[in-house]
């Protein structure tokens, strides 16, 4: 009899990691080159996989992917938060907490909120310039129930692996959890929380208004220049922490594109006999998205004879579905009408 060793690239084995892009390899927004700051929005989105920054303090952060990871396990990238302006005294309603949204359909096999609720094994690598106790928290999609597991960073600027298990909740104690393609839970990494967000308990599912961690935990936002990094994020059914499941970049990208896509080099051209004439073309999406996506222009590109308002009368403006988007251009007057070199994003993120 011979034994077959199964590698950890997910080849030929069921997907076990419930976290999308847990190694932060996919970076469609190119945050590696241009980390997103919280100057323009308190909810900066930078890395793929339903992550957002959530920075509501008097300070500021930058957030994005960096090429830094613990060695010896195939990881190469991590999520990094850097405090660019400190807030040393958080008010009750202030918070800094990178947050990951969970689509209900991806967790339904865990039978949570029933008497058969299955436990999960959580693992991640973390590194910070600040030592102390931090929190990992689940919060229901509609606020009302939370669970906080504290973890300690013992040595500054040193990768540490954290592993723990969480018992699945057998009922919804408060708030609401979605089903199907809607939000089930948020996973919150607290890096400074006001008292409004305190869950009031460690290691227990608790009915609480908007619990996102412990206000007594270490506040990264309190120190200018402080950093926090995380990678190798894996959650799997059961109580065993198995090796991080590496996937091909192609598979990882497909999963990310269920929530976010970048469409570069969009071109459409037509001849209009008069003004306000429209040319349309349906663009098929490479991956079916979670919901009909919102679209936004990131590179306007070149254009000719566009009806007033380039952002209004050209591009993905006429109808987006989960598997297609209408690319159009509308003329200002008779003649050649076109756009080229346009980049737009499609977001069905939670």
């Amino acid at each position: 009899m011979s034994l077959i060793k199964v590698n950890n690239r997910g080849q030929g084995v069921p997907v076990k990691n419930l976290i999308v892009n847990g190694n932060f390899e996919v970076d469609q927004r190119n945050s590696l080159a241009s980390p997103v700051t919280s100057a323009a929005t308190q909810y900066p989105r930078s890395v793929d996989g339903n992550w957002m920054g959530v920075e509501q303090t008097d300070g500021q952060i930058s957030i994005g992917k960096v090429a830094d990871a613990p060695s010896g396990n195939g990881l190469q990238s991590s999520l990094k938060v850097t405090v660019t302006s400190a807030d040393t005294s958080l008010a009750a309603a202030q918070r800094l907490c990178p947050t990951h949204g969970i689509e209900a359909s991806t967790w339904q096999h865990l039978d949570w909120h029933t008497t058969n609720a299955k436990p999960i094994a959580v693992q991640f690598w973390v590194k910070s310039s600040i030592t102390g106790t931090f929190g990992f928290t689940f919060r229901t999609g509609g606020s009302g129930m939370s669970y906080t597991h504290p973890y300690t960073i013992s040595s500054a600027n040193t990768w540490e692996k954290k592993t723990f298990t969480v018992a699945g909740p057998t009922s919804v104690l408060g708030g609401s959890v979605g089903s199907g393609t809607s939000i089930m839970y948020y996973i919150v990494f607290g890096l400074g929380l006001g008292t409004d967000f305190d869950t009031g308990a460690n290691g227990a599912w608790t009915a609480v208004g908007n619990g996102q961690g412990r206000s007594s935990h270490t506040s990264l936002i309190g120190t200018n220049g402080a950093t926090w990094q995380m990678t190798g994020f894996q959650i799997e059914e059961g109580t065993v922490h198995s090796e991080f499941q590496h996937e091909s970049l192609e598979e990882n990208l497909k999963k990310c594109q269920r929530y976010f896509q970048v469409h570069a080099g969009l071109n459409i051209r037509g001849y209009a006999s008069t003004g306000f004439t429209r040319v349309e073309n349906m663009v098929s999406l490479p991956v079916t998205m979670r919901a009909a996506p919102s679209s936004a222009i990131t590179v306007t590109g070149n254009s000719t004879n566009i009806r007033s308002g380039v952002s209004t009368y050209s591009g993905f403006r006429l109808g987006n579905t989960t598997n297609g988007a209408i690319l159009s251009v509308e003329s200002a007057s008779g003649g050649i009408t076109h756009i080229s070199g346009r980049t737009e994003t499609l977001s069905a993120e939670i």
Partner: protein, 57 residues
């Protein structure tokens, strides 16, 4: 969790399947799909009386 700052919203298409909105300082085209996070927030803010969706031209 996500409290978007929406300063304007207007139906763009004749059949009202898309809304052009300014969300967190960015012009975003939002489909009228209740599962879309932006549209769900637009509906919430309309219900709360904080936002009105203008008719298409």
């Amino acid at each position: 969790m996500y409290e978007m700052k929406i300063t304007s919203a207007k139906y763009f298409t004749e059949d009202n399947v898309m809304i052009l909105a300014n969300i967190d300082g960015q012009e975003i085209s939002v489909p009228t799909d209740p599962a879309n996070t932006h549209y769900a927030e637009i509906l919430k803010q309309v219900a709360d009386g904080d936002l009105t969706i203008a008719d298409a031209d």
